[in-house]
């Protein structure tokens, strides 16, 4: 008894074992409608100095993990106590069916959204817990939880529509896009005014906001729009259309040529002469008179 009491301070969680989880070697995954009907493979790993006093419970919940599976959570697996104690450092995998995540089970029961419904954005946690003790008497148990539960971010909610402005350049347009924080990338599209189809002329990745579209024809009016995508690939509504008409402009060189500038024929002679002189300086090894 006195021995058991003296061991009580050692029973703090984390000192007798560690449980880690991942899905595809990540601590957070994002999934969308395309993942409905599929499963994700979760990996659990235990490393114990003590002994398991219960099965290793694995589940998915919408809230905080807690110490045990709760009503409404999705049970993934129970790894038997004997199996854990037989090998106290081991790893294995489990399958998590996306269709059966708690948010969809509750919604389906209410006749609400199911997996694949648009406009849903919900986080789940992949959790694990097991009771441990220093020996198999399991005299005083403590609970070891997964060090970092894995977040399963289900998102079929499209990002907000971006807004676009376009500035006319010479045979080009400078497009500036603003978008909400959910956006990860954008397609910048353009069409000649009056035509039907937009053509994607470039992509932007967050946090960039500027894109130059080259190869346009001066004097022709183009309509420009952008479509935002989040990390799952949900597409926003197209932005409002901005119009731009590229126009001829003169840079410094054109103005200079008009006033009589020349480029010397781009002769390489002076360059070669200069570089040879510089090289000669560097190679100079004449001793310095002291």
């Amino acid at each position: 008894m006195s021995l058991a009491l003296s061991l009580v301070p050692l029973l703090a969680a984390g000192q007798l074992g560690v449980v880690t989880l991942d899905i595809n070697q990540a601590s957070e995954i994002s999934i969308g409608a395309d993942d409905c009907g599929t499963s994700k493979t979760g990996t659990w790993t235990v490393a114990f100095t003590g002994y398991a006093c219960s099965s290793l419970s694995l589940w998915v919940t919408q809230g905080d993990c807690g110490d045990a599976i709760a009503t409404g959570d999705l049970k993934i697996a129970d790894i038997a106590q004997s199996a854990i104690n037989a090998n106290r450092s081991q790893s294995s995998t489990v399958s998590i069916a996306i269709d059966k995540l708690p948010a969809f089970a509750a919604a389906a029961a209410d006749g609400g959204a199911v997996c694949g419904s648009a406009g849903v954005e919900v986080d789940h946690k992949f959790c694990a817990a097991v009771s441990v003790y220093t020996d198999l008497t399991c005299f005083t148990k403590s609970t070891v939880r997964a060090t970092t539960p894995v977040t399963i971010h289900y998102d079929t909610k499209a990002p907000g529509a971006p807004s676009v402005s376009a500035e006319a350049l010479d045979s080009a347009a400078a497009v500036t896009v603003s978008y909400d924080s959910d956006t990860e990338s954008l397609d910048v599209q353009a069409r000649i005014q009056g035509e039907e189809e937009f053509v994607t002329l470039g992509q932007l990745a967050s946090p960039n906001t500027n894109k130059t579209i080259d190869g346009l024809e001066n004097g022709v009016t183009y309509e420009v729009q952008a479509i935002a995508y989040d990390s799952v690939g949900n597409a926003s509504e197209a932005s409002a259309i901005a119009t731009v008409t590229p126009r001829k402009s003169s840079g410094f060189w054109e103005s200079c040529v008009a006033a009589g500038c020349n480029n010397g024929g781009c002769s390489t002679t002076p360059a070669a002469l200069g570089l040879a002189t510089l090289a000669a300086m560097l190679l100079l090894r004449r001793r310095v008179r002291r």
Binding site: E167, A168, L169, D170, A172, A174, T212, R247, K248, S249, S250, G251, F252, W253, E254, S255, C256, V257, A258, A259, G260, C261, N262, N263, G264, G265, C266, S267, T268, P270, A271, L273, G274, L275, T277, L278, M281, L282, L284, R286, V288, R289, R290
Partner: protein, 246 residues
């Protein structure tokens, strides 16, 4: 410049003047490296057929460039002063806005230059080394080659077959005054020499004369009119910097 000279005289007369090389054991010195900055306004418009206010550099780019240069010199003669040969590499750019018939646009256009010099220099450091007066006047003379190119948007601008890039070369000269920092903290200066091999550190100011226009070479245009063969990158400008002699 005047305050620099007064400070030098005060240091020369104070009891803690910089010890001469006869009493200070220093490491051999054979090289000098300078880093300098200056405001450089190239005279691109000088030879052009334009009226003031409408000339391309003035009207589009408008102002001086910040020129940054790194120079390395090899000291060849160290008796009554120090004579050296060296080379330098610099960079400067100036941007403005492209223009249309109804005014300027938001499209950027700019001139970038990469000056390279081969330099011969003479520094009259005899007073500093023999008498502890930490002022070193100097003269430089050399040949300069400048690679330049003109940007419009994110590309080199071209007009027909004439690319907005080329070379200009010519002669350069400079005169300046260096202030030796060592007397301000002789112990630190000795440690800098012992630890890093840097004998002396200077702050300097110099005035540059550059005639970089392919020696005034001309080229006939299609109408038979003589035009400058390349950009005239001549100028008169001051530079300031720090030098390490080692």
């Amino acid at each position: 410049m005047m305050s620099m000279m007064l400070a030098a005289l005060a240091l020369a007369q104070s009891p803690t003047t910089f010890p001469s090389t006869e009493t200070r054991s220093e490491s051999p010195r054979s090289m000098l490296t300078e880093v300098r900055l200056g405001s450089y306004y190239p005279w691109v418009d000088r030879p052009l057929d334009c009226t003031p206010g409408s000339c391309p550099y003035q009207s589009i780019l408008g102002g001086a460039m910040l020129l940054v240069e790194l120079e390395v010199e090899r000291e060849l003669f160290q008796a009554f002063g120090t004579a050296s040969l060296g080379a330098s590499l610099g960079y400067a750019e100036k941007y403005g806005h492209a223009s249309t018939t109804d005014g300027s646009t938001g499209e950027a256009t700019g001139l970038r230059i990469l000056p390279m010099k081969a330099i011969a220099s003479y520094r009259w450091d005899w007073l500093a080394h023999k008498h502890g007066i930490p002022l070193v006047p100097y003269l430089k003379f050399g040949f300069q080659v400048v690679h330049w190119w003109v940007m419009k948007g994110n590309q080199t601008e071209s007009v027909g077959t004439a690319a907005g890039a080329g070379w200009s070369y010519g002669l350069v000269g400079a005169g300046g005054l260096s202030f030796m920092l060592d007397p301000l903290d002789p112990r630190l200066a000795r440690d800098f020499d012992t630890g890093m091999g840097v004998n002396h550190t200077y702050l300097f100011a110099e005035f540059n004369i550059a005639e970089v226009n392919n020696f005034g070479a001309k080229k006939l245009n299609s109408a038979g009119v003589a035009q400058p063969a390349t950009l005239d990158l001549s100028s008169r400008y001051a530079m300031f910097g720090i030098a390490f002699e080692y």
